[in-house]
Amino acid sequence: MQYQRHITLPNDVQATTELGMFVEEVCENVGFDMGTTFKLNLAIEEAVVNVMSYAYPAGTKGDVDIDAEANDEQLKFIISDSGTPFDPTKQGEVDTTLSAEERGIGGLGIHLIRQIMDTINYERVDGKNVLTLRKKLTKNL
């Protein structure tokens, strides 16, 4: 099986609903169950929202490209933008054992991506941030 889909979204968080529909269509095509689809939706939303919120200076427009590629072994999402260099994989781990008083509100997004995806890889290529998230197809969550 070879499957490929692409979507370009503006850096506007209102587009996350459209992103959700895109991810659901991809997951349905590769045969993921609803629970796994839910989690992938979450991981991809977190990664894309990060780009929408921080890649481009406030008030400027920019795009985020999302490529989904699947073969018999894995589903891969490649998220790219032409914004400020930023490697989300360098962000520290959140401590999920802290109390409500001690918990900060940041870092949850990357934490969820790490929990859900099998691998996360960042590269800076030709002036672009390229984040690749992989999920093995054999493994429903």
Binding site: V13, Q14, A15, T16, T17, G20, M34, G35, F38, K39, N41, L42, E45, E46, V49, V94, D95, T96, T97, L98, S99, A100, E101, R103, I105, L108, G109, H111, L112, Q115, I116
Partner: protein, 100 residues
């Protein structure tokens, strides 16, 4: 995404319906403001019809908890489905909230 606020037996109850994604979070934050004025009331966040939540929604829940706790109010989560429960587990939120 739709929310409904009700006072039931001295509880402040907010019903969440639909997808609490990043696109919905700003409006939902506004709609949750009445809950912040909770002195003397415990709060129930009814998630029976909540289909999805991302970190922006989780932040709203945590923000409410941080405000309510010092006022002596409990924040209960009611009716979450299995997918949502797993998100609460992955983020450690399962230990922060009380569940009904």
């Amino acid at each position: 995404m739709k929310t409904t606020f009700k006072e039931e037996d001295n509880f402040f109850v907010m019903y969440f319906e639909g997808r609490l994604d990043t696109a919905a979070s700003a409006q939902t934050e506004e709609e949750m403001k009445p809950l912040y004025d909770c002195s003397g009331h415990d709060i129930i966040l009814d998630c029976t019809n909540l289909e999805y939540i991302s970190s922006s929604g989780l932040r709203l829940f945590l923000g409410l908890l941080k405000t309510a706790k010092p006022k002596g109010s409990h924040v209960y989560i009611r009716g979450i489905n299995e997918d949502l429960r797993q998100v609460f587990a992955m983020t450690g939120f399962i230990n922060l909230f009380e569940f009904k």
